[in-house]
Structure formats: structure tokens, C-alpha cells
Amino acid sequence: MIPTLTTERLTLRAPRMDDFDAHAAFRTSDRARPVGGPDTREGAYDHFAGIAGQWVLRGYGRWLVADRATDAPLGIVGLHHPDNWSEPELAWSLYAAGEGRGIAMEAALAARAHAYDTLGWTTLISYIAPTNTRSMALAKRMGCTSDGPHDHPAIGMVHVMRHPAPPSSWQKYSGGVPASDRDGGSAPKTGKTS
């Protein structure tokens, strides 16, 4: 029921119990500060089980991002949608092992393509804490524009970053770059709104 997505360097797959140590290391560290942490190991388990369980409850959710070659866990990326949120969010959290190699963007593009192409969604947001400058830079690289501030129930004041709508150039991805931006723009460019 949880689909597996594959990109050039990554596998987006169902979270497993043997990924938990990596997730707990992240959630108990200062790296988790922009996303509601740091937490205890017990709290990290609750968080991890909640990620897995959203797939059962909603049929979509967040994948464990693993190194395609080694299957080592690198982070959590996908479609996060608690009950009291106005719309689903494209969210990314990288473990220390996943840092600094463009992995969040590669995984987030695959997740966004799944939302648009497979689920048929027409829009997506990402919530970014004001202090999380690297995530903000990633949102902008993905073409997001600001929808303004939002008082987030779990992490306080955040920026709502709205992703570009699916049609045309954003519809298909290959290797993480929008088709229209490759090969001198050989793909059709019509219909991209901004």
C-alpha cells in the first residue's frame, strides 16, 4: 500500500523499525529544533510511528528516504497531513547522514511529482520556520512563493510556501530538474503559472 519511488540516488520507501535508530538520533538532536524537537527517544518513537500510521489513515504520507545503493536511512520526506491542518504539506527532514548533497530536493521533487501525477493534487504547501534558512532556500529552488505567515499548531509562526501548480513544465521530472530547464528548454513551456 505504501508505494516505493526511485530517483537517481534515492529510494523513497515505507518506514521500517530498523530505521528507527537513525530517526531517534535526529529527533533527539538539535537538528530537530525547527520541527518541534528535540525530543526524548520515547517521543521520537511516537513521532516515527505517527509517520507510518498516516499512510494507514489517509493512504498517503511521508516516506523514509534511503540511499538507493546502500538502503541507509537519510531522512523523512513526503506528504504530511495531521487532522487539524488546513491542507496537506510537502515536508522534508534530513538526518545528519543526508545533509548537504541535494538529497532533500531530489526526494521532495519525487514526492511532489507523486502528489501531482499519481494522486492528482493541484496544489501543495510547505511550512518553513523563519530560522530554517536552508529549508527556505530549498523551497525557493523548488519554485515556491510565499503565501504569508501562519501560526502553526506544533511549531509556532512559520512561512507558508506555496509550490507551483502541476501543469506543463512541472509535470514530469527526471533527475530532479524540471523538464523545461533542461536541454535548452526543449520541453513545452506553456501553462506554467507564477
Binding site: 511516537d46 510511528a49 494507514v56
Partner: protein, 173 residues
């Protein structure tokens, strides 16, 4: 993902957690009845609890069922096999929602869950953790034939009594 099995007893169905169970679960966790299991909780945290219940099945291959009253179809509690990070061993747990206590439902559902653990999963022992002062739960543990077996402290629920269930050979008919 694994298929979550459905169990049936005289009066109850034990089935997979579902998004439609959220209101009943949130009402339980907002009530004083949840004080023995980490509550009261906000709706936001109740959502996470429901997702955790479902996610436990994915991560562990077993978990807790939503207990549905067969005659009415109403969700009346959560019962089953629980083993989060930090637990000493597999637990048989039961939470009954408001208005459904005192009719033997927890015992009936827990009995079915214990049989599943012993007969289908091949487990040889089980504990239940009961908070001090939770007299109704203590009575369920006794009715199931469990005996006191020390204490355990869990971050979310505090210090609790450990009840050891009879082994499969002792509950066999």
C-alpha cells in the same frame, strides 16, 4: 503493508484503526478517563495517537485494534498488543471510551487479543501495565488471570504496576 486482521467475539469486532475513529478517540483523550494513559490530550495530540496506533502495525507487524460494538457499529475502545520503544516487553493493553465501562467489553476484547498473540503469533507470555488508582483496569487484569509482577516506569504514563498474564498452557481450555 501488512493486512491488519479482524477478530470477532460475541459482542465485539476488533478491526484496523480508521480515520473515522478520530472523533471518538479525541473525545476519549480529552476526557478524565484518559488520565491513566497519558491524557488528557489536545485534538492535535490525539491525532498523533491514532496515527501511532495505526503505525505500530506497520512497524511491528502487530498492534492494537479499534474495538467496535457489533450491534451498534460504534467504536468503544482500543485494545491489543503494544510494544513502543522503551517498553520492557510486549504488552496487552485496553482503553475503553466513555460510557462503555462496566459491561465486560475490555475483558472480552483483551481475551480475544491475548488468544491472537498466543495462538496466531506464538507468543509465550504477555504483560499488562496498569497505573495506580486505575481500579477498573486492575479488575480487568485480575479477571484475565494476570498476577502482579513488579513495576515499570514509562515516560508518557509514569510509574505502573506490571501484571503478568497466564502462559498459553495455563489458559488453554
Amino acid at each position: 503493508m501488512i493486512a491488519i486482521p479482524t477478530l470477532t467475539t460475541d459482542r465485539l469486532t476488533l478491526r484496523a484503526p480508521h480515520i473515522d475513529d478520530f472523533d471518538a478517540l479525541a473525545a476519549f483523550y480529552a476526557s478524565p478517563r484518559a488520565s491513566f494513559v497519558g491524557g488528557p490530550l489536545t485534538a492535535e495530540l490525539s491525532w498523533r495517537v491514532l496515527a501511532q496506533e495505526a503505525g505500530h502495525w506497520l512497524l511491528r507487524g502487530f498492534g492494537r485494534w479499534v474495538v467496535e460494538h457489533r450491534a451498534s457499529g460504534a467504536p468503544i475502545g482500543i485494545v491489543g498488543l503494544w510494544f513502543p520503544a522503551g517498553f520492557p516487553e510486549h504488552e496487552l493493553g485496553w482503553d475503553l471510551f466513555e460510557g462503555h465501562e462496566g459491561q465486560g467489553y475490555a475483558t472480552e476484547a483483551a481475551h480475544a487479543a491475548r488468544s491472537y498473540a498466543y495462538d496466531m503469533l506464538g507468543w509465550t507470555t504477555l504483560i499488562s501495565l496498569v497505573a495506580d488508582g486505575n481500579d477498573a483496569s486492575t479488575r480487568v487484569a485480575r479477571r484475565l488471570g494476570a498476577r502482579p509482577d513488579g513495576r515499570f516506569t514509562y515516560e508518557r504514563f509514569g510509574d505502573m504496576a506490571v501484571w503478568r498474564h497466564p502462559a498459553p498452557s495455563e489458559v488453554a481450555a
